[in-house]
Subunit: 372 residues, 2 copies
């Protein structure tokens, strides 16, 4: 199996590590954050602005792209990088999460998943092999296997079955992938919620199949923080050092910091971009809800410590005005700021790990946040 | 009276001229196009992208800014340039057009205009002096007098009264302006629709009062093109050579080309930005309505001759996808293209006049358009 991950530095007092994931479209320095571009664009940001923020990769949704514009168009246009004109790494999720959370009618069978499109009710069946096929056509750099996601809380009995099905599908995904001789990376997704015995079983099954990276799915959906940390801790010991680890969909900075400390390398979340559009902005002093009247005449930038275009040029009063007027530039300027805030923290995380200062960085950031 | 306009070149075979308007925030090379930033932002574009397109000035709406955020906030924040962080020239319209077109109840009296806010029905009275006061507080570079705008068609009798009131208000505006010793420029607006005797009377009244520039208002609202051209022709002969001329609100490229030929120096219109958001894109080969199915797999850029960021990077298929998904980046990329298209034509117009090639430029552009 090709070696696609290299550790550059490990924190001496925790399991945090800094590394590089090598992909067909270039390297990703880890720990890394993938902004979400569900439909092939970050909401509120053209690619040039995103790139100037230092984004290393983006995440696209196979489910959405499969439905529209559809695989014919995507193949015709030369795959996802060519279609959306983004030449850096792209991670495509398997669509599993969207199927279970968006479709009004889902039927999970051993062969695959049957669901109705949330757009027009069309009945669709996708096997794990189909999901590989879709992502090979997309040509994403990192592909994810189809998994069986369950909401939190789910009974142990149900979760056990979900884990078994996820492992069965993972094996079939790998087999299907091997038919393609693709240079894309295939990562497996573990399930099991916070039942450690099930999560362990899920991870071990994936390890036996062997993937280029390992994801923890089905977390960050309401389980107690203490249990999340415990799972991260134990999973960290079980997963091989030389493969990248991905905590899917988790975006609170505090959770990210805890997860990095436990050896997680990759994150994605809609939080910074969605909150930006809703006028909730992250700053080094805590959250700013920009619509609040108290900002109407506030001449200060959002965050005096921030070097982003928004903070270097505009006052809170102007940002409030744009938000209240529902101007498109409100979404743009807010998204620039929130993504800069996130990507900047990740850059600091990578530096801190390499300088063996992760613990003090974590304390300096975590103290100021009240994000939940 | 200070001299704020200088002609650099005149076309030998028409009345087209290239010049410079000097404003407190720098020069404007004419003929110029002012993108509309009603609320202090171009819809769909942050200032840095707008500047990279070569915009020389923007237009803001006194009416909207007066209502929200209001003059207290604007004064508190140091005026419009400081509030919106745009350091190039700003033209503020008087709000007249908005009052007549947006307010549900308008009462025009000799003292001024009484209207109800289109937002919450608040009753507001504004005199021409108030409108000057508002724009002095805004600190815009070019201020416009309050005028009495009527729809097309209006009876000659009504229009005669509107012209008389417009002249009366213009005089009071000038008197009020002189109290302020401001370095801002004050331009007068003529009315009279396509009744040449009334338009002539209106212009002559303004000339007697003396302004830094002269605008033709109440045009481009349904009057026959032949009559518009006739008015432009005659007004061109009446207006002094050494003052800039502004044709308000007219944005079709064909009309602009005809107007430049008849000596107009300045234009503003929502057309390129509004059409961009509606997915109607201007190209050197004619209009592209991007939602059309025929573009779903079209790999070509919008306009193969265009050097804008959108055309240099994205296919029609991707732009259609973004439009159909109602992505914010659809508005952004489309606005970049349409504004680039407009500003590029104005740049070519200025060059052509200086090279005495205006006629051939006009023919090369006008032949390809079918904009109405």
């Amino acid at each position: 199996m090709k070696k696609t991950f290299k550790i550059k530095a490990s924190d001496s007092s925790s399991s945090a590590r800094a590394g590089i994931i090598h992909t067909p479209h270039g390297p990703i320095e880890t720990p890394a954050f993938a902004p979400v571009a569900s439909q092939g664009t970050i909401k509120g940001l053209p690619h040039n602005l995103l790139q100037s923020l230092g984004a290393q990769l983006i995440l696209v949704n196979s489910y959405h792209l499969f439905l529209r514009p559809g695989m014919d168009t995507l193949s015709q246009l030369g795959g996802i990088h060519s279609f959306i004109s983004w030449q850096k790494p792209i991670l495509s999720d398997s669509g599993g999460f969207q199927i279970y959370s968006l479709s009004p009618l889902v039927k999970v069978k051993k062969e695959g998943v049957k669901f109705t499109s949330h757009l027009d009710g069309t009945k669709i069946f996708l096997s794990p092999e189909d999901v590989i096929e879709i992502q090979v056509k997309l040509g994403s750099d990192i592909m994810m296997t189809l998994d069986h996601f369950l909401p939190f809380p789910s009974s142990k009995e149900k979760m056990k079955k979900a884990v078994e099905l996820t492992s069965h599908w993972a094996k079939r995904s790998k087999d299907a992938f091997l038919q393609h001789y693709s240079s894309q990376l295939l990562w497996g997704i573990s399930q099991g919620s916070v039942y450690w015995d099930l999560r362990k079983e899920s991870i071990e099954d994936l390890l036996e199949i062997e993937f280029d990276g390992y994801a923890l799915g089905g977390l960050g959906i309401g389980e107690p923080k203490s249990q999340l940390k415990e799972i991260l801790e134990k999973a960290g010991s079980l997963l091989p050092e030389d493969k990248p680890r991905y905590l899917m969909g988790i975006g609170y900075i505090n959770d990210i910091l805890e997860a990095v400390e436990r050896g997680i390398d990759l994150f994605d979340c809609v939080l910074p971009t969605r909150n930006a559009r809703n006028g909730t902005l992250f700053t080094s002093k805590g959250k700013v809800v920009i619509k609040n009247l108290k900002y109407a005449q506030d001449q200060r930038p959002l965050d005096e410590e921030c070097s982003c275009y928004t903070c270097q040029n505009f006052s809170r009063a102007y940002l409030r005005h744009l938000y209240e007027r529902q101007e498109i530039s409100s979404a743009i300027l807010n998204t620039i700021h929130n993504l800069h805030f996130y990507l900047d923290i990740f850059s600091k995380i990578r530096q801190a790990i390499q300088s063996n200062l992760y613990h003090s960085l974590k304390c300096s950031i975590i103290d100021k946040k009240e994000e939940e």
